[in-house]
Amino acid sequence: MKTIEKFYRKIAEYLAKRVKPQTIQFTISVSFTIVSVCSMGILGVTLYNRFVNRMEDMTIESSEQLLNQTAINLETYLRNMRRISDAMYYSVIKDKDLAVDSVDEEMNLLYEANKDNLISIACYTNDGKLVAAAPVTNEKDNSDIVDQEWFVNAVDQMENLHFSTPHVQNLFDNAAYRYYWVVSLSRAVELTSNGNSTLGVLLVDMNYSSIEQLFNKANTDNSSEYVYLMDSDGEIIYHPKQKLIYTNLYEENNLEAVHYDDGSHQEIFQGEKRLITVKTVSYTGWKIVSVVPMSAFNMGLYGTRMFVIMLMALSMLLIIIINQLVSARIAKPLQRLNESVKEWEAGNLNPTIYVGGSLEVEHLGKTLRSTVEQINQLMHDILYEQEEKRKSELDALQSQINPHFLYNTLDSIVWMIEGERYEDAVFMITQLASLFRISLSRGKTIISVEDEIKHAKNYMNIQKIRYKNSFAIDFSIEEEILHCCTVKLVVQPLLENAIYYGVEGMDGEGEIHVKGYRKEDDIYIEVSDNGLGMPQDMVEQLLTDNNRVRKHGSGVGVINVHNRIRLRFGKPYGLEIESMPDEGTTIRIHLPYIPYEPEKLELLENGKMQELKGGKSNEEK
């Protein structure tokens, strides 16, 4: 058991290693095809073999039948000959005293009655003298009767009738130059002459043509199948190619076949496989042999073989086509489902999930569809939560600004009151109040550019008083961008920086320019000073290093502004800084162009910049 398991495991491992995963359709159609082709092949070969066996049996049967029929005909013929001989002997010769009576009349009568099958009937004394013969003709002068085979056989074995092999009759003179091939039936007879009985030989010469005709009938078939006749020694009596055999142009396996028993045999003769059926003729011991060359057999089967192969090929073709259709029907829904999954994988969050096909696949499709929906919902929820988190972070950042600034300004006001500059203090407080109003903006994060600039102006008014107009400031803002959205409190920290790091201590030579303009779908607000400027590495640090310690101001650096813009509007926006030492600094606020409208405001407030953008691009489309 264990070894079998091991074997199975080995096969499985081998297959896993060798056979790469294929599509369902391929697997189904290939396995179906292999199975059906194999079974068709086995079926075809089996049926063909059965057919061949049946044909072989039938051929054997029919050749045996032919053989039996021929044997019956031959036996009847030979029996008739024997009867002639018997009649001649027992009814005529035995009854007559040859010295007194003549047998000529009876002999002639018998001859006439059987003329078709006979050449002659003759009776000889034991020294070869002719007693009587029919038909009456001249005896040849040079034929040694006693030496002829039929005579010798009859005298040697007196109790038997003897059938000779075919030979040319050498007894009578025929002035028409005719020579007859005969088969001699000879027997020893008792001749009575003057009451004395002497030995004689009775000869019935059968016309060989009769035997030949009998066999020609069996050999009329055009196929290479044939029947031949031989005597018990294998000497050929009749063969369809007898003359060819006599002249050595053809060979027959008669000397082998004479040893075969009655029935069917297979032999290989001259490299050819043949089916031999043998039948022994009673009394004479002659053998009739039927020969069926296997090649003839195969020739006959050629058409059948072609037909079987064609049938097999046709059904294989059909089965393969049906397999293709069935496998496609099974695999198509799965493939389409797979396509949907691939679309989903490629990044389409709302793929059209295929639902259809068989029940199982339909169920899979439905489940996948609801899963996709659930995942989308979950992702939405996560996004929302992140927005919430961002908002709270923003709020925290904003609240970071307020205490610093308040502290600084209140410090200035205290300083003014202490210096009894009440008007200035009142102006300052007014400005501060406006500043805070905008700062608060009823808790909103997004305000209009107009408010933002106003806020910046308030701030600068406060600072100008604090710094006793030691620097100049001008605002040039395009009308167009005033009604756009911006994150609040982004300009003020930059102005603060410009004052502290740029123009502070320049004694009236310091200049700060605030410029606002639109460029395509973006708006820019630039704060530039002509102050000290800074080196490039410091510029780079400004927007990246969150932990930098500041010497002045609210303590909240440009990085705060940069982060807030990016958190609200996305990565492409924020601050850009250009600065050269001793030449001044320009900080550019980059914002998207979003008109200040209530619905957009709401989306922005909720941190749904994505949706706003999507809506925008859709509108554009």
Partner: protein
């Protein structure tokens, strides 16, 4: 995937090819092969001497599936007559011609109008320009030798006292020339000169024989062909004196010659295996037609020397006597 598709396509293609092939094969089964036709032209076609050969011709035609056209002819007066017959047969669509040439000279003229695609087989005698055409013939030199040899054996030293005449038949035929040549050569070797040699055929020969025999009677007559042997036999049969004037040693194959051998009129008979000659000629020409061989192929058939004693020998009767009567 692409590979799989290719394999699949190949499989389908293989199946379709198989179907087409098998249907073609099935259709081809019942189609009969073209039966080639071969015409046989021999001198005096209904003469008994051709019986055995015809048997051979017919047997081979059956075995090789050839349509045999045995042209009925009389005695050819000239080669033009034969030429006309050959041309007529080819016109009638014969794929092959088996012909016994009347004259071995100038065969080019006989076949000048015959297309090279028609196979030609010469029977019994080759053309003078040997090796040009296929030939099925007995060894004619051997026949002459055998005849002379038999005479020499039968008479031994007493031969020098005997007079020999020869009926040399149609000396336009190479076969007859060869037979005569070898007879003469063997006799010359023994310093024997034939008293006379008669050539020609038919009535002329008979009357010439009568005259010659009257003028210069011979004791031994060597006849080189079947017709000559029969002429000699007829001469003896017609002789009312029943005095055997000469012994016949001849070539022959007709029942008549065999009968007179049996009767003792002919002393010895050289018999070519005519059945074999007929069979081989058709068989060879059939192969040449079917397989388009163009080289000349020559087949030699054996001959037997028969006398009254061995006539009924088992082997001899098988060859001498036609089975179909």
């Amino acid at each position: 995937m692409k590979k799989n598709r290719i394999y699949f396509g190949l499989l389908i293609l293989a199946l379709v090819v198989t179907i087409v092939w098998t249907s073609a094969g099935m259709l081809g089964v019942n189609k009969e092969e073209k039966k080639y036709s071969v015409s046989v032209i021999v001198n005096d076609s209904n003469n008994d001497r051709w019986i055995a050969m015809r048997e051979g011709l017919e047997q081979a035609a059956k075995d090789d599936d050839i349509q045999l056209n045995y042209v009925s002819t009389g005695v050819f007066a000239s080669e033009d007559e034969e030429k006309a017959l050959i041309e007529r047969e080819v016109e009638n669509g014969a794929d092959g011609i088996i012909v016994q040439l009347v004259s071995s000279e100038d065969t080019y003229a006989v076949f000048e109008k015959i297309d090279s695609s028609v196979a030609v087989m010469l029977l019994e005698t080759d053309a003078v320009s040997e090796g040009v055409y296929s030939v099925t013939a007995p060894d004619n030199l051997w026949i002459g030798e055998a005849l002379a040899q038999t005479v020499l054996q039968d008479y031994g030293d007493s031969l020098s006292e005997k007079k020999i005449g020869i009926l040399s038949g149609n000396q336009n035929q190479l076969s007859m020339q060869q037979r005569l040549g070898s007879v003469k050569k063997l006799l010359e070797d023994e310093n024997i000169e034939p008293v006379w040699i008669l050539s020609g055929q038919g009535e002329n020969l008979s009357s010439e024989l009568v005259t010659k025999q009257a003028d210069e009677p011979v004791d031994i007559l060597i006849t080189l062909g079947n017709a000559e042997t029969e002429t000699a036999v007829d001469y003896l049969q017609a002789d009312t004196s029943y005095k055997r004037q000469f012994m016949i040693y001849g070539e022959g194959c007709s029942d008549k010659t065999v009968y007179y051998l049996d009767k003792g009129i002919i002393k010895s008979l050289v018999v070519p295996n005519e059945f074999n000659m007929g069979y081989q000629s058709v068989h060879t020409i059939a192969e040449q037609i079917k397989y388009k061989f163009s080289s000349a192929e020559s087949t030699t058939v054996e001959s037997l020397v028969i006398n009254r004693q061995n006539l009924y020998d088992e082997e001899n009767q098988k060859i001498l006597f036609p089975i179909v009567q």
